[in-house]
C-alpha cells in the first residue's frame, strides 16, 4: 500500500517500507555473489600469463606487420568460395524455411497439435547447433570441400529464418485475411493475397540479415575443412606465417564491411 495517510495528508511512495528493505537486501546479496565469483576466478587464473600478455601481443604484432601483400593473389579464389558458400547457403535455407514458417505459425498451421510441434522442433534443432559443428558432421558424411560448407550454412540458417518469419506471420493484420476469405478465395489464394504481401518486407529483411551473418560464419568454416578462406587461415596459422594471417584477416574484414554495406542498402530500399 504505497499511499499513506498521515494527519489528513495523502502521501505516495513507490514502494512500501517492507518492499524497499527487500530491494536493499537483494542488492546486498548480488554484490556479495559478485565479489565471491571474482575471488574464485582470480584464484583459478595463472596471473603470470596475464602479466605476460602485452609483450606476447607486441611480439605477434611485430611479426604480423607488414602483411604479406603479394600473398593476396592466392586469396581471390578462397574469398570467392566463401561468398558463394554464404549466398548459396542462405538461398537454400530460405527456400526450406518458408514452408517450415507457415507450418509453425499459429494462424497458418494445418494442425496445432501435430504439425506445429514438428515444425518448431526443426527450428530449434537446426538453430541450436553451431554451423562449425554442422560442418564437422557434414565433412564426415559428404567429405571436405565447399559443398559441405554450403549445406552446413543452409541447415544452420533454416531455424533462424523460419523463426523470424513465423513470428512475422503471426503478427499480420487478420482483417486483411478475413477480407480475402470473404471474397470466396481458396486457401492458397488467401495465402498469396492476404498473407504474403504483409510478410514480404519482413522476408526481405530476414534474407539480407541472414546473408550478412552467413558471410561472417562462412569465413571460419575452412578451419574444419569446409572450404573458403578459413582453409588458408588455418594453414597459415599452422605454419606460424603471421604476415599471411594478418592479410587474411584484412581480407575478411573487407568482405564483412562490404556485405554490411550491401545489406544496409537493400534493407533501406525495401522498408
Amino acid at each position: 500500500m504505497p499511499v499513506l495517510e498521515t494527519e489528513g495528508l495523502k502521501q505516495w511512495h513507490r514502494r512500501t517500507g517492507r518492499e524497499s528493505l527487500g530491494h536493499w537486501v537483494m542488492w546486498l546479496i548480488g554484490v556479495a555473489v559478485f565479489a565471491y565469483c571474482w575471488q574464485q576466478i582470480s584464484q583459478a587464473t595463472t596471473w603470470f600469463f596475464v602479466w605476460d600478455a602485452p609483450t606476447i601481443a607486441e611480439d605477434i604484432w611485430t611479426r604480423a606487420t607488414p602483411p604479406k601483400w603479394e600473398y593476396i593473389t592466392q586469396l581471390g579464389k578462397p574469398i570467392w568460395d566463401t561468398l558463394n558458400i554464404a549466398t548459396l547457403g542462405t538461398i537454400i535455407a530460405l527456400v526450406l524455411a518458408v514452408p517450415v514458417a507457415f507450418l509453425a505459425a499459429r494462424n497458418t498451421t494445418p494442425s496445432a497439435l501435430v504439425i506445429r510441434p514438428i515444425a518448431l522442433l526443426i527450428i530449434v534443432a537446426t538453430r541450436s547447433i553451431n554451423s562449425l559443428i554442422w560442418a564437422l558432421l557434414l565433412i564426415a558424411i559428404i567429405g571436405p570441400g565447399v559443398f559441405a560448407g554450403v549445406i552446413a550454412i543452409a541447415i544452420r540458417s533454416i531455424g533462424f529464418c523460419a523463426k523470424l518469419l513465423y513470428e512475422a506471420i503471426e503478427e499480420i493484420d487478420e482483417t486483411q485475411v478475413e477480407a480475402i476469405k470473404a471474397t470466396g478465395a481458396s486457401r492458397w489464394q488467401v495465402m498469396a493475397y492476404g498473407i504474403v504481401p504483409q510478410i514480404l518486407p519482413a522476408f526481405a529483411g530476414i534474407a539480407v540479415f541472414r546473408w550478412d551473418i552467413n558471410i561472417r560464419e562462412s569465413t571460419v568454416l575452412g578451419l574444419v575443412g569446409a572450404g573458403g578462406i578459413g582453409l588458408q587461415l588455418s594453414s597459415s596459422l599452422n605454419v606460424l606465417a603471421w604476415p599471411q594471417v594478418s592479410l587474411i584477416l584484412l581480407v575478411i574484414l573487407a568482405a564483412v564491411v562490404i556485405s554490411e554495406w550491401v545489406s544496409a542498402k537493400v534493407r533501406g530500399a525495401i522498408i
Binding site: E178, A179, A182, T183, A185, Y193, Q198
Partner: protein, 263 residues
C-alpha cells in the same frame, strides 16, 4: 432472399453473442442493424458468410442453406456475398487495382490470380467500378497511400466486383469523418438500388441509419428488440435498445450536424 432461422452463436468463453435470431430479408432491401457495442451485430454479419461459425441455426441465401456447406461449396456461396469492413481491410501493400480485382478471387484459378492474369472482362469491370466511385485515376496507387474515404470506396468496389446478391457491411463509417460517412452511406445505398442488392449495414450512428435505409433492426444482447421502418425509432424504442439516455436532445443535435455536412 436471405433468411436466418434460430441463429445461435455461443463463443468458447461462454458468451452468448446471438440468441436464436430469426430474420427475413427480401430481395433488394437495405437494412440497418443498430445496437450497443457487444450486442452481436458483427457476429451476426460474420455468421452469415461463416467467417464466424454459428453454433446452431440455419442461414438460407436464395434458398441455399449455408451452415452445412463443405469448404468448397461455401467458397462458391461467398462469392454471392460482398463484404465491406470498418477499417477497410484492404491489402495495404497491394495496389488499388489489385485490391479491386481480389474480389474476383472466387472466380479465377490460383495461378491466374497469382500471376495477376485476370480476364479482360474483370479488368474492364474493375475500371468501370473505380470510375463509378470516382477513383479511376488512383488505380495504380498503393492502398496505403489513400485517405480513409478513398480506401472505403476501394473496399466497396472489391465487394461489388464479386457480382454479389447481398452486401454485408460492417460499420462502414466508424473510422470516417461525418461528411465522408454520409457520402459513403449514400454511395452504398445508391449502388444497392442501381444493382438491386440487398444489404445488411451494421451502424452505430442512428441518425445516419435513419437517413438512408428502409428498415431498421435493433439488436440488444444478441436478440432482436426492434424491427420496423426508420420513422418508428422513437426515444422509447431507442431506450429499449441502448438503455436510458436523453434521446430527444442528442438526436436533434446530430440532425443539426447533418444539415451542416449536407451543405
Amino acid at each position: 432472399m436471405l433468411r436466418l432461422e434460430k441463429l445461435v452463436k455461443t463463443y468458447k468463453t461462454g458468451d452468448q453473442a446471438l440468441k436464436a435470431v430469426d430474420l427475413d430479408i427480401p430481395e433488394g432491401q437495405v437494412l440497418a442493424l443498430i445496437g450497443p457495442s457487444g450486442a452481436g451485430k458483427s457476429t451476426l454479419i460474420r455468421c452469415i458468410n461463416r467467417l464466424v461459425e454459428p453454433t446452431s441455426g440455419k442461414v438460407y441465401l436464395a434458398g441455399n442453406e449455408l451452415t452445412e456447406l463443405s469448404a468448397g461449396a461455401l467458397r462458391k456461396e461467398r462469392r454471392r456475398m460482398g463484404m465491406i469492413f470498418q477499417e477497410y481491410a484492404l491489402v495495404e501493400r497491394l495496389t488499388v487495382m489489385e485490391n479491386v480485382l481480389s474480389g474476383r478471387l472466387g472466380y479465377v484459378g490460383f495461378w491466374r490470380s497469382f500471376l495477376r492474369k485476370y480476364p479482360q472482362t474483370d479488368v474492364d469491370e474493375a475500371f468501370r467500378l473505380l470510375d463509378r466511385v470516382g477513383l479511376a485515376h488512383m488505380a495504380d496507387k498503393r492502398a496505403d497511400e489513400l485517405s480513409g474515404g478513398q480506401r472505403q470506396r476501394v473496399g466497396i468496389c472489391r465487394a461489388l466486383i464479386q457480382d454479389p446478391a447481398l452486401l454485408l457491411v460492417d460499420e462502414p463509417t466508424a473510422s470516417l469523418d461525418p461528411k465522408t460517412s454520409r457520402q459513403i452511406m449514400r454511395l452504398i445505398c445508391e449502388l444497392c438500388k442501381e444493382r438491386g442488392l440487398a444489404a445488411i449495414i451494421n451502424i452505430h450512428d442512428v441518425a445516419l441509419a435513419q437517413m438512408f435505409v428502409q428498415r431498421v433492426i435493433g439488436l440488444r444482447f444478441g436478440a432482436i428488440e426492434f424491427d420496423g421502418p426508420p420513422d418508428a425509432l422513437t426515444p422509447d424504442v431507442l431506450t429499449t435498445i441502448y438503455g436510458e439516455e436523453d434521446w430527444e436532445a442528442t438526436i436533434e443535435k446530430i440532425d443539426g450536424e447533418d444539415d451542416e455536412a449536407a451543405e
